[in-house]
């Protein structure tokens, strides 16, 4: 008996969900198994957070330390994604698995997205470490007024930064040295997304760029939820921008893959 269209659609959606879920679990497991990577993932952001706290304490202190705490916490998620998304693709090349993933009969986006979301989820480690550092080492009294909204804001930030990493990773698939792009973007985004400096201090022409970055809204949502403001519009904006990144990434992915298949660059390590 022929399968009805809705049944086939459900089966197809379930398959995509399973590929995404399995990919996420597998890549997270792989990253967690490297204790050295894990240690670096926690220590690296702590150095930057410490510098930020010392500067803010010497300056305004008080409220601005709370501002810096949440900003530094999201910095870790962004850094983990921007620098690791490129090296993850490069690692797939070295392992010889990139060709196997590309030749699998699923849309490559379902293979790539879990890798970058797993990277940003790894950034949660550093987020927790940074918040603990600010609370217990620097004695910052961190508010958590709306815990539910705070939880949603963190998830929205992780997912939307993961989607941004996905967009970057699309270029890494085609160009071997594009991982440098991720490193290049790491620090400017710290600044432009307002992790440490309020956007109002930046020149006017920078602000429209900030609005196009999901981390800007993610960190805003986290700060608002923590301090008791209405975080939901920012959560929606972060997720909405994440969806836009995904749509663009998926739209160009087939073209990028066709170009890589023409150039023969998939196997090059």
């Amino acid at each position: 008996m022929a399968e009805s269209e809705p049944a086939a659609g459900t089966r197809s959606s379930l398959r995509v969900a399973r590929v995404l879920g399995r990919g996420f679990a597998l890549h997270l497991k792989m990253m967690m198994r490297s204790s050295f990577d894990g240690l670096l993932g926690v220590l690296w952001p702590l150095f930057f957070a410490t510098i930020a706290f010392l500067m803010f304490r010497a300056g305004a202190g008080g409220e601005s330390l709370v501002f810096a705490s949440f900003g530094a916490a999201v910095m870790g998620i962004w850094s983990s994604t921007s620098t690791s998304a490129g090296s993850a693709m490069q690692r797939e090349r070295w392992h010889g698995t990139l060709e196997l993933l590309v030749s699998a009969p699923v849309h490559f986006a379902t293979v790539l997205l879990p890798v970058t979301v797993a990277m940003s989820a790894m950034g949660l480690y550093s987020m927790v470490a940074t918040l603990l550092l600010s609370r217990f080492v620097f004695g910052v009294d961190l508010p958590f007024e709306h815990p539910v909204a705070f939880g949603f804001a963190v998830v929205a930030t992780v997912v939307s930064i993961g989607a941004m990493g996905f967009l970057l990773a699309v270029s890494f698939v085609r160009y071997r040295t594009a991982w440098a792009l991720g490193n290049l973007l790491e620090y400017p985004v710290w600044l432009i997304a307002g992790f440490l400096v309020p956007l109002t201090l930046l020149p006017g022409w920078v602000r429209p760029i900030s609005w196009l970055l999901a981390p800007t809204w993610g960190v805003d949502a986290i700060r608002d939820a923590a301090s008791g403001g209405g975080a939901w519009p920012e959560i929606a904006l972060a997720l909405g921008l994440g969806a836009v990144y995904l749509t663009i990434g998926i739209a160009v992915l087939e073209t990028v893959l066709a170009s890589a298949r023409r150039a023969g660059s998939l196997a090059l390590a």
Partner: protein
């Protein structure tokens, strides 16, 4: 019935650059007009030395590379236009250490690829169990791959390639670097695939492997097929010739080249054996080139000289060491 795998005048050119400051773009023709067809249930071998274009040919057939020109079909579908359809029906296994997630167990690797290849969730556990048994890894599946030997990794590769039970399987040098006992086990598994009705395209640079496994062989060198047929056909090509082997201790290229000019000589190859080299000269039937060869090697320190009948290995060596004819690249 159309062929299961079909390559029609496939060409593939790579662009590369040379130089650091004065960069120059170069075009390398890796595959130059390869055509062949596999029937259902056939085990077909692409045999050739490193760099002959075997892997490039396979990568075009499995949709990883787009041909520069020519056409390739699998189960009647074009590999460029219907890439996803083709991917669902083929398995790809390559040799060597790479292609696995080392920090994960064999079971994790297989579970992930089972998902990617759309193996029914209700069937996954049983299918993975069957394959672990087939490749002899049951009981070791929970260990991390980084602790596996080369042979175990290769067997895991085969299990991965068979997860979705594809009717067509591409094996790219699956026994490379595996010890003799492990390689024999792998060949047994490959032969089992043919017995199970799979259509298999195997690339190798081991003549004896192609001879033992393949129904038909195509010898590829410098991106072209230079001979094709059954192993018997290839043996017949040299069965009435003669082979002279001369042990030498240090020989210049000029001397080797001079041997090619001897009337009746069909091929000259040099093999390294321990401290010495062995010059293998093949000649047409009825010729006795030994005297002329020794005369041209005057001044070279010589060891043992033997004359024997040609083997299949000699047929292969003769085919892949033949000088390219004028205008042939």
């Amino acid at each position: 019935m159309p062929p299961v795998v079909e390559a029609i005048d496939l060409h593939r050119t790579y662009r590369t650059t040379t130089g650091t400051f004065r960069r120059r773009s170069l075009e390398v023709e890796a595959v130059r007009g390869v055509s062949f067809a596999l029937e259902e249930g056939e085990l077909f071998g692409l045999l050739g030395p490193n760099g002959a274009g075997k892997t490039t040919t396979i990568k075009m057939l499995i949709t990883l590379l787009i041909p520069t020109s020519g056409q390739a079909r699998v189960l009647g579908r074009d590999v460029v236009e219907d890439a996803r359809w083709v991917r669902e029906r083929i398995g790809y296994v390559f040799g060597g250490d790479r292609g696995l997630y080392e920090r994960l167990s064999a079971l994790d690797n297989l579970r992930y690829f089972a998902e990617l290849y759309g193996v029914d969730p209700g069937r996954q556990r049983a299918r993975i169990g069957e394959l672990l048994e087939l490749v002899g890894l049951q009981g070791r599946e929970k260990e991390r791959v980084e602790g596996y030997s080369r042979g175990m990794r290769q067997r895991l590769h085969i299990a991965r390639g068979l997860l979705h039970d594809p009717p067509v399987i591409f094996l790219d040098e699956p026994t490379i670097g595996v010890d003799p006992v492990g390689a024999r086990e792998l060949r047994k598994t490959i032969f089992g695939l043919k017995e199970a009705g799979k259509t298999v395209l195997l690339t190798t640079h081991y003549m004896f492997e192609a001879d033992a496994l393949c129904d038909r062989i195509a010898v590829v060198t410098r991106g072209k097929i230079v001979a094709a047929g059954t192993p018997r056909d290839l043996k017949d090509q040299v069965s009435d010739g003669v082979v002279v082997e001369i042990e030498v201790y240090g020989i210049e290229n000029g001397k080797v080249e001079s041997l090619r000019g001897i009337d009746g000589v069909t091929s000259v190859a040099v093999e390294d054996r321990d401290q010495a080299q062995v010059v293998v000269v093949q000649a047409e039937a009825g010729r006795e080139p030994t005297h002329e060869v020794l005369a041209r090697l005057d001044g070279v320190s010589l060891g043992r000289v033997t004359t024997r009948e040609p083997t299949l290995e000699d047929a292969y060596v003769a085919l892949v060491t033949e000088e390219p004819v004028a205008g042939d690249g």
